[in-house]
Amino acid sequence: MKLSKEEVEHVAKLARLAVSEDEKEAFSRQLSEILTYVGKLNELDTSKVEPTSHVLDLSNVFRDDVVRESLPPVEALANAPDHDNNHFRVPKIIEERQ
């Protein structure tokens, strides 16, 4: 299994991860090697096997809708790299019209 540099770029974009040329090179090589190893799973016929997502016999967990104390805004914002007036602030998302 070979992961090309273009595929690395595509996956990096999906993962919201900027990658340098060196990183593209390294990921292409290392991920190809790991995927080749993982290809070992294809030795097994799993056409009649149900997937396991979780080992516990759990389904949805519900609780009563009871009002509980929540984090005060000051504390919730305390770790934010940028905030303003009880909001998280981020760089501009919407482009201005020409």
């Binding site: 996956v11 900027a18 993982v38 096997v49 997937p51 609780r63 760089p91």
Partner: protein, 486 residues
């Protein structure tokens, strides 16, 4: 008297009978940390003042005649992926370098309720991804038995600190072996409980269907005492099992007569380290002398465990780590022209190479067109691995294997080859995939003086059987009494 080498149960006796105080003990442990840290760097943060204040409180509790727990006044260290209110919690990642959790993890709250003294936060592989603690963004941790060797990982700081007597006990987390493998490398006891046994509320998530918190201790009794403090149902964790938890010390000293030990052929492979093989086989013989019966069991899908794990764990990690986007907490690259660039550059600068590699692999495995070939395939193989254990546990009460294929390797030995590093978890990973409990304890030393780990696996929620097997073996041997020369 020098108290830093004492176990929790030995300290409990000292404290309850007023032979010493928690203040004195905590002072000694802080001194010890100062002395050994330049050699091992087990800690990310040492909470001197808070610890001394907690020690004062513990002393008042011990003197007042109010109810005390075996942990009251005892210094405990926490892996730095467990949220501690107002104490920096970094996951040894640059992206969380200054993160101050606004709340305590449930295990932290429970330890505080026992009156334990929380001495500091331990170094780890970034986001618990690694087998050597070399992936920390803040420098590596050394093995107290040989400071040129790795302490294992990812809970390497916790295991190293316990082995170096820089705390009485510690908590770690285990997604593919991250408690047991460092416990083996450092010659201490480490337990990964059954999935769901210990609340993960406040544990920074890596792979949610595999992660579990557990103790790293100087002996098996301490492991049971720590489990008494942390195990049990928690409504704040929707994957926490709503089952009564036991007093894990109560059944420790039942003998092994009639216990059925399964030995999986697949874990005793050609080319295994001869000293590890010898030590584990000797341990099995000791257990037979103690009354246990051994038989071969089969775990035929063992050879697929590492591949299954590196799909499931990375896919879950890719999703879990999407939250580190420079918005709500953590590090942000500034300035950037727009939001997308902010996300991409923040994550590029904030994550280390191994974390990025796993995010990439996980994102690929979940991406359009590959989901069935990788993620769903791995989930199906997970079913096969789990049913191997279900079958094996029909014939055996516990399964015994080595914890790791070798003793501690040298710093730098495997950093250039991710796949070789992944393969060092070959004996621990299946346990997480199946969700069962497993413990590692020392069962010998190499000729060069490095500890060798024995792994004892049990049925789901059968921690008592695992601990009782471990206790019987420990009482029949002397390995746990050896200390590194630091």
């Amino acid at each position: 008297m020098e108290l830093t080498g004492f176990t929790i149960h030995e300290l409990q006796e000292q404290l309850k009978n007023h032979k010493t105080t928690s203040r004195e003990l905590t002072r000694q442990v802080l001194e010890r940390i100062k002395r050994v840290e330049p050699k091992i760097h087990a800690f990310m943060t040492v909470t001197d003042d808070a610890a001394l204040a907690q020690a004062e409180e513990a002393d008042q509790r011990l003197q007042s005649g109010r109810p005390v727990s075996p942990l009251t006044g005892v210094p405990i260290a926490l892996k730095d992926n467990l949220c501690t209110k107002g104490i920096r919690t970094t996951c040894s990642s640059k992206i969380l370098e200054n993160f101050m959790p606004p709340y305590d993890a449930t295990v932290v709250r429970r330890l505080k309720e026992t009156g334990a003294v929380l001495i500091g936060k331990t170094n780890m592989d970034e986001f618990a991804m690694g087998s050597s603690t070399e992936n920390s963004a803040f420098g590596l941790t050394a093995n107290p038995w040989d400071v040129n060797r790795i302490p294992g990982g990812s809970s390497g700081g916790s295991a190293s600190a316990v082995a170096a007597d820089a705390c009485a006990a510690a908590l770690g987390s285990d997604t593919g072996g991250s408690i047991r493998q460092p416990a083996a490398m450092c010659g201490v006891v480490g337990l990964k409980p059954t999935y769901g046994r210990v609340s993960r509320y406040g544990l920074v998530a890596f792979a949610s269907s595999l992660d579990q918190i557990g103790p790293i201790t100087k002996d098996v009794t301490d492991c049971a005492l720590m489990m008494n403090a942390i195990a049990g149902y928690d409504p704040d964790d929707s994957t926490s099992a709503n089952l009564p938890s036991a007093d894990y010390t109560r059944t420790l000293d039942r003998d092994l007569t009639g216990l059925r030990i399964g030995i999986p052929r697949e874990y005793f492979i050609d080319g295994m380290d001869a000293e590890v093989l010898y030590a584990v086989k000797e341990a099995i013989r000791t257990m037979e002398r103690l009354g246990a019966m051994t038989r071969e069991v089969l775990l035929p899908h063992t050879e697929y465990a590492v591949a299954t794990y590196y799909i499931l764990a990375t896919a879950e990690a890719g999703s879990n780590l999407a939250r580190y986007d420079g918005v709500k907490y953590g590090f942000r690259v500034k300035p950037t022209k727009d939001l997308l660039e902010m996300y991409m550059k923040t994550r590029q600068a904030g994550f280390g190479p191994e974390v990025k590699r796993r995010i990439m692999l996980g994102t690929y495995a979940l991406s359009s067109g590959y989901y069935d070939a990788y993620y769903r395939k791995a989930q199906c193989v997970r079913t096969l691995i789990k049913s191997d254990f279900d079958e094996a546990f029909k014939q055996a009460d516990v399964i015994i294997t080595p914890t790791a294929p070798t003793a501690a390797f040298k710093i730098g030995e495997k950093t250039q080859d991710p796949l070789q590093m992944y393969l060092s978890d070959i004996f621990t990973i299946s346990v997480n995939i199946a969700g069962i409990p497993a413990l590692s304890m020392p069962c010998g030393f190499t000729k060069t003086g490095l500890p060798i780990g024995l792994q004892i696996m049990g049925r789901p929620f059968a921690e008592e059987t695992v601990l009782r097997t471990a206790y019987a073996y420990e009482q029949a041997t002397e390995w746990h009494n050896r200390k590194p020369n630091l």
